[in-house]
């Protein structure tokens, strides 16, 4: 284990309740000096140093990075949770070349509207988030599961570990699902989530985001990610967003405001397309025509 891991910070990612049953306390014998509180300035300097190093590498001809770094120290919780060995290349085989099938038996159509799950209307700015799920070859991912979860408009999750002293909304749970259409399209009606504080460092705030979970046509395309909103002032300060060191890659997580999606006197529209990795399987003609999903049942 790296010697300099500050366990208090490592374990304090969320505004958590006591996790003492899971995390052994630091030995009482060690009268370790109280770690200095890390400020946003400290973290921003670390993030900048990593960004500068990446810019130099790019200039020297390194290939652009397209995914987050698993080892990104400014996100303190990653310190003990990233593999230190390189990922091992493998050719996907058999089961990995297929994906679990989900259908309308699994997901009710109303689950895509997060504003109608209770008796009343949730507080906040009503929005529509819509887009398409495509594979790396531009093929629509049809009939597949999309799951989302998010904070409410004041930045609070319905989760026992979320201790942010912002109000819960009795009319908002913040969980939705849908099955993509034949063209890979998805669409959710929800409330714009608020930014929320966390304990990575002093005065750490996450930019507003919606968590997205996606399946492709092959299990190797499985991805969980976060969608952000355009123009957020917290982007440069956030270690999780900045763990993607490439600006073009980071931009791929930011939705676009889309006035054509906006509904008069009802909701603002945001468009966000999701690209999965390329297909590794040789497709049969039927599959290419979109016979995945429900048709098997």
């Amino acid at each position: 284990m790296p010697e300099d891991v500050n366990l208090a910070t490592y374990n304090a990612d969320a505004l958590t309740e006591d996790l003492s049953d899971a995390v052994p306390a630091t030995p009482a014998a060690a009268p370790a000096e109280k770690p200095r509180v890390e400020t946003q300035q400290d973290l921003s300097a670390e993030i900048k140093a990593l960004g500068d190093a990446y810019a130099r590498a790019l200039k020297d001809g390194a290939a652009p990075e397209t995914q987050p770094r698993l080892d990104f120290p400014p996100y303190r919780s990653s310190l003990l949770r990233h593999p230190t060995k390189s990922l091992h290349h493998a050719d996907p085989e058999t089961i990995e070349l297929y994906s679990p099938a989900f259908g309308h038996q699994d997901v009710h159509a109303l689950e895509s509207d997060l504003t109608i799950q209770h008796n009343g209307e949730p507080q906040g700015e009503r929005i529509i988030v819509a887009g398409r799920v495509l594979d790396g070859d531009g093929r629509p991912v049809a009939g597949q599961l999309v799951e989302i979860w998010q904070a409410n408009s004041s930045g609070r999750y319905i989760h026992k570990r979320d201790q942010h002293p912002a109000p819960l909304d009795p009319n908002f749970t913040g969980v939705g699902r849908c099955i993509t259409g034949p063209d890979g399209s998805y669409r959710f009606t929800t409330i714009k989530p608020g930014a929320y504080p966390w304990k990575n460092h002093l005065n750490a705030w996450r930019p507003a985001h919606i968590h997205f979970s996606l399946f492709g046509t092959e299990f190797t395309q499985r991805i969980v990610t976060q969608m952000y909103f355009p123009g957020d002032q917290l982007f440069p300060l956030d270690p999780i967003y900045q763990s993607i060191v490439d600006q073009d890659a980071r931009d791929r997580l930011v939705a676009t405001y889309d006035h054509d999606l906006t509904q008069p006197e009802w909701a603002l529209g945001y468009n966000w397309d999701i690209i999965l990795t390329g297909s590794k399987r040789t497709w049969t003609e039927n599959e290419a025509l979109g016979a995945e999903g429900d048709d098997h049942e």
Binding site: M1, P2, Y10, T16, D21, A22, A63, E65, T66, Q67, P68, L70, D71, S77, L80, R81, H82, P83, T84, K85, S86, L87, H88, H89, A90, E93, T94, I95, E96, P100, A101, F102, G103, D106, G136, D137, E147, I148, W149, A151, Y157, V175, H211, T220, R222, I223, V224, T225, Q226, I240, A249, L253, I275, T277, G278, K280, E292, D294, H296, E297
Partner: protein, 196 residues
Amino acid sequence: MSNSTKLVPTPGQTVGPFYGYALPYDKDRELLAPGSPGSIRLQGTVYDGAGHAIPDAILEIWQPDSEGNIVHRTGSLVRDGYTFTGFGRSAVGNSGVYTFTTVNPGPTEPGAAAFISVAIFARGLMNRLFTRIYLPENEEALANDPLLSSLDPERRRTLIARRDADGGLTWDIRLQGEGETVFLDFEGTGTGGAAK
């Protein structure tokens, strides 16, 4: 599609600490009803680089049935109690332990080593990790497996489950450090976030 331009994939992000009320669902870890004929328990613990069990990871498995068939059946989210869909999801508890009720996967091709495909998500883990759980029994198939034979013995072991006395399987995950589990990159471009 042969002449289409390759699109750049959307980056992943950590699952974060608050997936607990969104991703788990009723019977998510029961690919078969517990106690039904042929069912086994698959379980293990997720550890971090300090050797501590972590309480905020979630695993998914995807596997063929006991005959080695890859099924294409819906119904993983709303289980009818009879249909084997091959997919399951299990969040770990406070002690870092995940559990599934499933079947021993069959080999998908004659003589092939049988394995379960796994995706792991955790707070503090920037992107999901893929790996495999191999059944321990068929030595010859394991010896001939393309992935296993590309690994040195020390690392190879991390992908092979232990058979429990009750017929179940135990397989632990070590995200970092000694005995670090082998995690897979299917893209072969090296941009999957290998240690920098």
